[in-house]
């Protein structure tokens, strides 16, 4: 009796990893999914913050894909280990602070570790040559296989025919003829394959799956590192970069100003970590002050900016509550800053 071969599939929740997984399942391989949570994943948590997003369907697409395919899914917290990838990428960043090549190598390396611990045979991904400018090029895909240590245990079913044979093909665990030769950014071959499999629905994550590919997000992260004088972060830091309007009026402090009720509610949970301001005479946002050694003048400036984003922005005076991290509060009155007095460069 032949041995049942087992593969783990890196499932992002997108279309390609779904098709790659199905391709291998069709060859009688037992496949389970794996998904790595780095803290920067767009998938998942950010829609839980903003109230305007509350009515949108909330689902984790990686779990959804696993359920559609009828496979198990393992979600792995790699937040701590991933920091080194973001802070010191050996292959550098892409257009923003996205370390795509290092990231993919890291994930394949973690998958290799997982198959060794769980007695699986090989790893599959939904990569397609030419689809991503950094990590999915003909010259960089071998780098991922080599630097991750996976070598020929890494099979990319959607473009395998454009790549050298891997161990699962050589050993006959999978039939190379039934793998694919997709390349480039066209989605037509994927659509045709989906039709062949009877797959009619798939997730289409807008703007990619990682916040580090987002220019606005990367600008805020770069600002945070510059202010700190070193590249480091905690999970709360990178969460806060996703929330609110970030305004830095002085080098030593910035304001995180809630843009709507959902964000204000989320930020309430951080009032023990930040000094905060909240308008009381008019409806308005909660703002967290990220910075130390604030002078009275700085506080006045911060309050006038926060007042500018309240419903009292046209009033002569707005009253605010200033609350310390310890919970003691005082009130203050300021004139709201005029829009013309807020330089564009203050906005991060």
């Amino acid at each position: 009796m032949s041995t049942q071969r087992k593969a783990v599939s890196l499932i992002s929740g997108g279309f390609d990893s779904m098709l790659a997984t199905k391709t291998i399942m069709e060859q009688g391989i037992h496949v389970e999914g794996i998904n790595f949570f780095t803290g920067f994943c767009v998938e998942g948590h950010t829609h839980a913050i903003r109230k305007k997003d509350k009515e949108k369907p909330k689902r984790n697409n990686a779990l959804w894909v696993a359920e559609q395919l009828g496979i198990k899914m393992h979600i792995v917290d790699v937040i701590e280990e991933y920091k080194d990838i973001v802070i010191n990428p050996s292959h550098g960043y892409g257009q923003n602070l996205n370390p795509c090549l290092d990231c993919k190598g890291f994930m394949v390396k973690k998958a290799l570790q997982w198959i060794q611990e769980n007695d699986f045979d090989f790893i599959i991904t939904g990569e397609v040559i030419g689809q991503r400018p950094m990590s999915q090029r003909k010259d960089t895909m071998p780098v991922i296989a080599r630097e991750s240590g996976a070598g020929d245990l890494l099979l990319r079913p959607l473009c395998a025919k454009n790549l050298p044979e891997t161990l699962p093909e050589r050993e006959g665990w999978v039939d190379r003829d039934k793998l694919h030769d997709f390349s480039g950014r066209s989605r037509k071959p994927q659509m045709a394959l989906a039709a062949e499999f009877g797959i009619e629905e798939w997730a289409q994550p807008a703007g990619g799956c990682c916040f580090l590919t987002d220019a606005a997000y990367s600008k805020k992260l770069a600002d945070m590192w510059q202010t700190r004088g070193e590249k480091r972060y905690e999970l709360d830091d990178i969460m806060m970069l996703k929330v609110g309007r970030h305004v830095r009026p002085r080098p030593h402090f910035k304001l995180i100003i809630g843009r709507e009720e959902g964000e204000n509610n989320f930020m309430q949970g951080y009032r023990k970590q930040f000094v905060s301001l909240k308008t009381v005479s008019h409806a308005g946002p909660l703002a967290l002050i990220d910075g130390d050694n604030m002078s009275d003048e700085d506080i006045q400036l911060a309050a006038s900016i926060v007042a500018r984003f309240s419903q009292g922005k046209a009033a002569d005076e707005v009253e605010l509550e200033l609350r310390s991290k310890e919970g003691t509060s005082t009130t203050m009155k300021v004139a709201p800053m005029l829009a013309d007095d807020m330089p564009e460069e203050w906005y991060l």
Binding site: H45, A48, K58, R59, L63
Partner: protein
């Protein structure tokens, strides 16, 4: 059967799923895990995770801003 508690409040998805997954690994089939969360996304994600991994949702209740999901651990061998 033992009843276990997991506090996943203030965590945003997928962290409540990951914490649930890691906790369930240490439990026995038939054990019950009650997970308390605040991210409404768990109402989809934890049941989906349970369905694909062979566990049973016994109850989902909401009180104020908290969601309590009761899971019966399946045979995961």
């Amino acid at each position: 059967m033992n009843i276990h508690q997991l506090d996943a409040r203030r965590l945003l998805c997928p962290l409540p799923v990951i914490r649930t997954q890691d906790r369930v690994k240490a439990l026995q089939p038939g054990d019950v895990l009650q997970v308390t969360c605040t991210d409404p996304g768990v109402k989809n994600d934890i049941p989906a995770w349970c369905r694909i991994n062979g566990h049973e949702i016994e109850d989902i209740s909401e009180q104020d801003d908290e969601i309590i999901i009761t899971i019966k651990v399946g045979d995961i061998s």
